[in-house]
Assembly symmetry: C2
Homo-oligomer: 300 residues x 2
């Protein structure tokens, strides 16, 4: 059973390549009309990002012995939703950002209208990918996967979290309020990544699903806690996106609520809870544990 850091890096790099190839194949070619829209979609999705959500989907698929090609599609669908949310989040009426993944944001590279439509079309493509080919053993299960991704993306998931985030600028939030915001904004889609990956494989008992769900909630929140510490402490060059935005915009974060050390402690606690949730799975969950480590220890 793999345990070394080098082994994990190889696995992650291989997983990123698999997802990149799937995304390249799923996104319409630059040559297909409307070309500019398809160029903007590919620009927003390909060749960048840590691919944390797809890797979680792949690792969860390994846990349930899922067919590799099926999990790649589920992973790609989640990443398409993530990519569309970044494109819309960077628009002038939202975070008004010019840099993403070390490149000009989509609306800087193209224009606002094209970025808006590219985001819209990426969301539609995510659901197309999740419905067009068989991914689960039973079609009933796959319909539930579609519903799960829709819930995670919508007003009671990611889009709702972004609305709460916007409304919180300039306010002081308690840690429970911050958790509520991020369980929606970041957590919902990370949770969807884990559950969709797992559901491509063998059937799961209710208690297994509940454990996996708890793992996903812990790493989802840990991801955001670490994001907040990185925004406060890392450089724009390291992050590939504008650093220090939260403080500049007077946004409440886990760092502003707990201090940098307190936020790092919370991230470690969440990692321990995530580990504990996987106890029943033994070595089959090794990649998920390593991803929890990566999410907490990453420096970008």
């Amino acid at each position: 059973m793999p345990t070394t850091a080098a082994d994990f890096r190889d696995w992650a790099r291989h997983g990123q390549t698999r997802v990149e190839l799937a995304l390249q194949r799923l996104l319409p070619s630059n040559e297909i009309a409307p070309q500019r829209l398809h160029q903007a979609m590919r620009y927003a999705v390909l060749g960048g990002g840590k691919r944390v959500r797809p890797l979680l989907a792949l690792a969860a698929g390994e846990l349930t012995q899922a067919n590799g090609a099926r999990v790649e599609l589920a992973a790609a669908a989640v990443e398409l939703i993530h990519a569309y949310s970044l494109v819309h989040d960077d628009l002038p009426c939202m975070d008004d950002d010019v840099l993403r993944r070390g490149k000009p944001t989509c609306h800087m590279q193209y224009d606002e209208a094209t970025a808006l439509l590219a985001g819209d079309a990426l969301q539609a493509l995510a659901f197309q990918v999740l419905a067009e080919q068989r991914l689960a053993r039973r079609a009933e299960d796959q319909l539930q996967m579609v519903a799960l991704l829709a819930q995670a993306s919508g007003s009671r998931g990611m889009a709702g979290g972004q609305a709460i985030d916007l409304a919180s600028v300039g306010k002081s939030l308690t840690v429970p309020e911050l958790e509520f915001m991020h369980i929606h904004k970041t957590g919902a889609l990370i949770r969807a990544a884990v559950l969709l990956g797992a559901r491509c494989g063998r059937g799961m008992e209710d208690d297994e699903l509940a454990s996996l769900d708890h793992f996903a909630k812990c790493v989802g929140l840990a991801f955001q806690v670490v994001d907040d510490t990185l925004d406060a402490e890392a450089s724009t060059a390291t992050l590939g996106k504008t650093a220090g935005k939260d403080a500049e915009r007077n946004k409440p974060t886990f760092v502003s609520a707990l201090g940098a050390a307190g936020a790092r402690d919370l991230a470690q606690e969440l990692r321990q809870s995530a580990y504990a949730a996987l106890d029943g799975f033994g070595s089959a969950a090794q990649r998920l544990r390593q991803l929890a480590d990566f999410i907490v220890q990453r420096e970008f």
Copy 2:
């Protein structure tokens, strides 16, 4: 079998009420957090619009003896996609419009960020509605319905049509080029409405599906041809949205390409083709015929 205009008006009014009630039920309450987002979503969807797409879905469901509650959900899903597209289309970076369905547009009533997120969340809700409850006899068929709506909404459907529309401003298009644009921008979702409504009911033979598809393409294009003539000829008060926009923005339309009389002739030809496509269905397609009449004869 119903044939009078009064009977059709009663049927349409009843159908609009059914869809309105379904949408009211499906949209999260104003009281659920994030409240402002949910208010904006309800504002954008409820209490307005001709509901042409949902009526087409209901009529197609009657053709295949579909369960009424199921078709209402399929009709609502299509209308949620349509409503989100209007919210995004009205944004300053797109058509920059202030009036829609006789009310301030969503971003005027709320703000741009809320309107952007409301549109995003409405798209997600459409797919949730289409996947969460059983709508087709077989789950496999329902997955195909999800894929169909995603294709119709995405870069090779509605969103792609809007991109072509944006790129066409100030250009002179031929009638085939105009048709290509509108088959995507308006036609794809109208086609989805007909096919999704029909697929809630009995299984259809390939030739039946092909006929229904041809009907849908004809009425979809006719809808846009009539829209162009209304934009050129009707008043803002009658339309509930800003009239005369196309000429003001130097947008190519069927009126600019064919003249007003030529556009009206084309709409009549398309109605005849739509009628012909329904020949094999007999009286079961009566509501679809009446809707084709309504689409071509409407004055708003």
